[in-house]
């Protein structure tokens, strides 16, 4: 049985979307049980399942505006911190929240706790590509750290490779370093130093530099970069695909009769495709480098996105990846 601690109050559509996602997941997976942390009355309003669900009433909520570290230290009865404590104390296997990313990272670091010898945990979303052979890649670090050091990139490459192997079931995940050119020797001071470390690491399959324009082609399974650049890349990916689809919709609806009719005929194919570029389908971003599984669902998650994140939480737990990363770094 996988026990999932869920912050019911996190996210733009909380608690309704979160609780509805739980309703779906409890039906779909017989081997999970859920601990829902949040305002009990509000949760009960949406909760349609009784079996394998426990509601734990909490009195505080961490808001998007809260300064993450201060909020996690002070709001000890917040839904997020209580859920994190459940993982810390072994009452749950995995923490899931659609709340403030900064606060969730702080909860992971301060409550769940860092793995010994890990300098800084990282945040990694799994992003869909347009390649049939390699339909996804991991972006690591997507923003857990504003200022990264070479050792962070090395440790993140190792952590993400574990995830790719154990959860995504990729045998020998190809690790690329995001850089401003493909040749060895390219880059800024950080990426040059990281290149050296990655080249020497025997536990990973490092294939060299990769330019960001190649990411969606499936050229690597794990793309490593510092948290600031990773964050910019993730947001550019999201913004660009959203903008292109928006522009297409605009062009098709403002066109002539022929265009409008054509648009109607391709509507379904286009909607399926748009779904492909929607990274909430793959679940949430995973925080690696802490002594428990921590999953961040999109702030705008609807019940389907929460359902997908719960499915992912189950898979991550069953894979044993967290214990493997602990063994690797603490031994």
């Amino acid at each position: 049985m996988v026990t999932i601690a869920i912050d019911a109050m996190g996210g733009d559509n909380a608690p309704a979307a979160v609780v509805n996602g739980v309703n779906l997941a409890i039906h779909a997976f017989e081997d999970i049980q859920v601990k829902l942390f949040g305002d009990e009355a509000q949760i009960r309003e949406h909760l349609k399942v009784q079996e394998r669900v426990e509601v734990i009433h909490t009195t505080e909520i961490i808001e998007a505006e809260d300064e993450p570290v201060i909020a996690v230290r002070r709001k000890k009865d917040s839904s997020m911190v209580r859920a994190a404590r459940a993982v810390k104390e072994g009452e749950a296997d995995v923490l899931l929240s659609a709340g403030s990313t900064g606060a969730l990272l702080a909860s992971g670091l301060l409550v769940v706790g860092r793995i010994k010898n890990i300098d800084r945990p990282g945040l990694m979303p799994v992003i869909p590509t347009i390649s049939k052979e390699h339909p996804q890649f991991i972006l690591m670090d997507a923003g857990a750290n504003a200022d990264s050091k070479p050792i962070n990139l090395l440790q993140h490459a190792i952590l993400a490779s574990y995830y790719a192997r154990e959860v995504l079931e990729i045998k020998s995940p190809r690790v690329g370093l995001i850089n401003n050119g493909t040749e060895a020797g390219k880059g800024n001071d950080l990426s040059k130093a990281a290149y050296e470390l990655l080249s020497q690491e025997e536990s990973i399959n490092f294939i060299g530099n990769i330019e960001a324009k190649e990411l969606l082609n499936g050229s690597v399974d794990v793309a490593v970069t510092d948290g600031f650049t990773g964050n910019a890349i993730l947001k550019t990916l999201e913004g660009t695909s959203k903008s292109v689809f928006k522009a297409i919709k605009g062009a098709l609806t403002s066109g002539g009769m022929k265009t409008k009719l054509g648009a109607l005929m391709i509507k379904d194919a286009l909607a399926d495709l748009k779904d492909n570029f929607d990274d909430t389908k793959a679940g949430g971003a995973v925080m690696l480098g802490v002594k428990g599984a921590v999953i961040k669902a999109h702030g705008s998650s609807n019940e389907e996105a929460i359902f997908n994140a719960i499915r992912q939480a189950r898979k991550v737990t069953n894979s044993g990846v967290i214990n493997q990363t602990i063994s690797f770094f603490e031994d």
Copy 2:
């Protein structure tokens, strides 16, 4: 009369595409004259105009694999370096090349020469948005510098604001700092320090932080960031829009009869839109901070892209923006 020094041998399709672009431009603009640097026999093979075109035979070519600074120092009779020298010596107003970006930046720095008090020149493409009101924005620095300092970002914001005012004719260009969150105080060490400098600068209209996902919405006219992040953003933008259009093409051609028929009907509307996301339409990227106009056309430029870059070179020269930046920083 605007005199344009063109590296005929730079780019994937050189010299044919470059010379054909010149053929078009000489017909279109009566107030330009062109100095074409490169292999005379090869140039003459494609050149269809005689008036206002001078061919200057050169014996060397800087290749993509060449180490930029070494190549610029040693290949003194290369088409790129000779064209740069023409600008340096006042024989031409503006330098245009589709060759190696690194070598062109080195030519700008070492041959054309840095403006006094400018720490590091920057490279700025003009990128189309999906906003009707604000159809483009400047990304600065898109990769001239791998490691940037706060002062570079400030100077780049000033330089790009001049360009936005004088060339793009935007009255009070809105400058945003690309960051990992919109709140003041967000960011890495570099962006926090740059935020302070930008806030205090009275010659620009600084509106605060911007996240990369907002860039294509036209939220700012000038988006400032360090050269490493800017390069990653530019390449992610290019890669993502290319991938989405490729995926759409795939989905429409592999669909059923209805989808295929619909695809045929929207073909033109989609092609127009794809053109919109093609940044070669806007011309090339401009290197600012040197004592002459330097324009980098895409390596894959066809004759139309070269034509657009020549049109831009003419506009930049006529705007007087380079002399204005020299006055601002040297005074």
